[in-house]
């Protein structure tokens, strides 16, 4: 018998598995279940984009692409970033097409973090930054954002955790799970702290297109921040293309050169069929984004209104497709709330604690779901709250 405990990577073993797996085992068995748990558009990829993928298969374009991604696609990404966010990235040496935004995050962290380097991660946030840092033998340093600051990272909070070992600041806005955004003035304030340091910024802007009522500002738009920012974005959320696994990362050519090697040895290239679909998305998909953003915005207002009617306080989410109401008034912990709500009323929402410290007392509700489902979930929540 082999003793695996002595054979496995200590870093890998130290990673905690997702604590909410059990929820989904319960969910799978419930017939009348409504899941507002998954952070995924309920739209299917627009037909013209799917068609472009199908057409590439018909033509037999099934071989590897160049490592960095098809030149044509990188040129389109470059044009898109310029058109939408006034950003300038050279498609030839400042950009890689990745297997989803997740790979882009992995590359950014692995290409920059040395053992012992600290990575500042605002929480609650998407779950991957800490584990990837750990696998790179870096040290995650979590900063709790606060509801009273609308879950933004403040310059004071940032300043308080910077040490000589700080290598990277992760900036995940618009934010999953809180829906918080950082506007230009808030980014300026962080930039003021970062100027004169050697700290790099990993700006995960995967929800950039899903900002409501105001245009997204990238960290790379802020004076002096461009050269230290590694920009991550992708196609999953804005074009409803989660299963295609298409993302990209943009940065200074010296950083991209390192990420390139890791990408080359691990993934070779992003799926070719997905790259053809992505070209079509960038060329002719602006209207699709606008349509979906409009839909999400209506659902956002609808859900927010419903939660407030139920007496749950919820700060207004301005980005992504999540609401993050406080459930403290129920006296239940986030986990208890979610487990009981699922068991008793068959509705799945995610405990805030799944997204790190600071999530206790909150639950994440994804509103990328039909009005009918949101309505039904709210009415079940009303019944549920009565029983507590």
């Amino acid at each position: 018998m082999m003793d695996y405990s002595s054979l496995l990577s200590e870093a890998a073993v130290s990673l905690k598995p997702s604590g909410i797996r059990k929820f989904f085992d319960i969910l799978a068995e419930k017939k009348d279940a409504i899941s507002l748990g998954i952070g995924e558009p309920d739209f299917i990829t627009p037909w013209h984009i799917r068609d472009a993928g199908i057409y590439s298969l018909e033509k037999g374009f099934t071989k590897y692409s160049s490592n960095a991604g098809m030149t044509e696609l990188r040129q389109e990404v470059s044009k898109y970033l310029n058109r939408r966010f006034e950003l300038k990235y050279d498609p030839l040496n400042q950009m890689l097409i990745t297997v989803g935004g997740s790979e882009a995050i992995d590359l950014a962290i692995r290409a920059t973090v040395n053992p012992g380097d600290e990575v500042i991660i605002p929480v609650p946030s998407f779950v991957c930054y800490g584990p990837i840092t750990t696998m790179a033998h870096g040290v995650p340093v979590y900063v709790e954002t606060k509801a009273e600051n609308e879950f933004r990272l403040t310059p004071e909070e940032l300043k308080a955790v910077i040490t000589p070992k700080t290598k990277l600041l992760v900036l995940p806005f618009p934010n999953n799970p809180t829906g918080a955004i950082m506007e230009r003035e808030h980014l300026e304030a962080l930039a003021e702290v970062l100027r004169g340091t050697n700290i790099l910024v990993l700006s995960d802007e995967i929800y950039a297109e899903l900002s409501y009522g105001r245009k997204h500002v990238s960290m790379a738009n802020i004076p002096d921040m461009y050269e230290r920012t590694i920009l991550v974005n992708g196609f999953s959320k804005c074009y409803a293309m989660t299963g295609w696994r298409m993302g990209y990362v943009c940065a200074h050519a010296d950083i991209v050169a390192q990420m390139y090697k890791i990408h080359q040895y691990c993934l070779m290239c992003a799926p070719t069929v997905s790259q053809y679909a992505a070209i079509e998305a960038l060329r002719n998909g602006d209207a699709d984004i606008a349509m979906m953003r409009g839909e999400y915005d209506r659902r956002r207002k609808y859900l927010l209104e419903g939660l407030r009617e139920l007496g749950l306080s919820c700060f207004e989410p301005r980005g992504a497709f999540y609401a993050f109401p406080s459930i403290q008034s129920t006296g239940l912990s986030s986990e208890e709330f979610c487990e009981r709500f699922l068991m008793e009323k068959s509705v799945a929402v995610i405990p805030g604690t799944a997204f790190g410290k600071g999530g206790e007392g909150f639950v994440r509700i994804c509103y990328a779901s039909s009005i009918e489902r949101i309505t039904e979930a709210l009415s079940r929540m009303r019944e549920f709250l009565k029983t507590i």
Binding site: I38, E40, F126, T242, R298, I371, T375
Partner: protein, 161 residues
């Protein structure tokens, strides 16, 4: 407020409360607007899209598109003849068309025999109608943005991101 009309076009069953929440308006304002829009004829009516094949598999009721050629009448153009056609209860929709024919008449929920007798007995004999061509609809795929066949759902989906 036009957004409300677009939402109702997608789903006429949205309540004024839901419409108000989705568009960030007051419920009272929405109701006022809808009452006015109905009075002004901006909203003509509310209907359901029914797949009758699912209701009665053995049904012999069909839908037809009838192309109608007409000669326009002095002073009245096409409107007078169109009016004489749409007065028939059988006629579900009627459009004036550009191209090789003039009016497109849709009739549904009737037997083939009913439709034939309508075309020969009523439609073709209207003064000014110079020709008809009847096409039977064999299968409905999509109507008003709604797809008739139930769409397959992807299995094995990730449950947590």
């Amino acid at each position: 407020m036009e957004e409300i009309l677009r939402l109702l076009e997608k789903d006429a069953r949205y309540t004024s409360k839901q419409l108000a929440a989705m568009t960030g308006q007051e419920q009272g304002k929405v109701e006022e607007y809808l009452t006015q829009a109905e009075a002004d004829g901006k909203i003509i009516g509310y209907t359901a899209i029914v797949d009758w094949d699912k209701v009665d598999k053995s049904s012999d009721l069909v839908t037809a598109l009838i192309e109608v050629k007409i000669s326009p009448q002095r002073g009245e153009g096409f409107d007078r003849i169109a009016e004489r056609i749409y007065q028939y209860d059988e006629v579900e929709s009627l459009y004036l068309m550009s191209g090789t024919f003039d009016l497109a008449v849709f009739i549904s929920g009737r037997t083939m025999r009913d439709i034939s007798s309508f075309v020969f007995g009523s439609l073709a004999t209207i003064e000014g109608v110079t020709g008809t061509a009847t096409h039977f609809i064999m299968k409905k795929y999509k109507e008003k943005h709604k797809i008739f066949e139930k769409q397959e759902e992807q299995e094995d989906r990730l449950l947590f991101v």
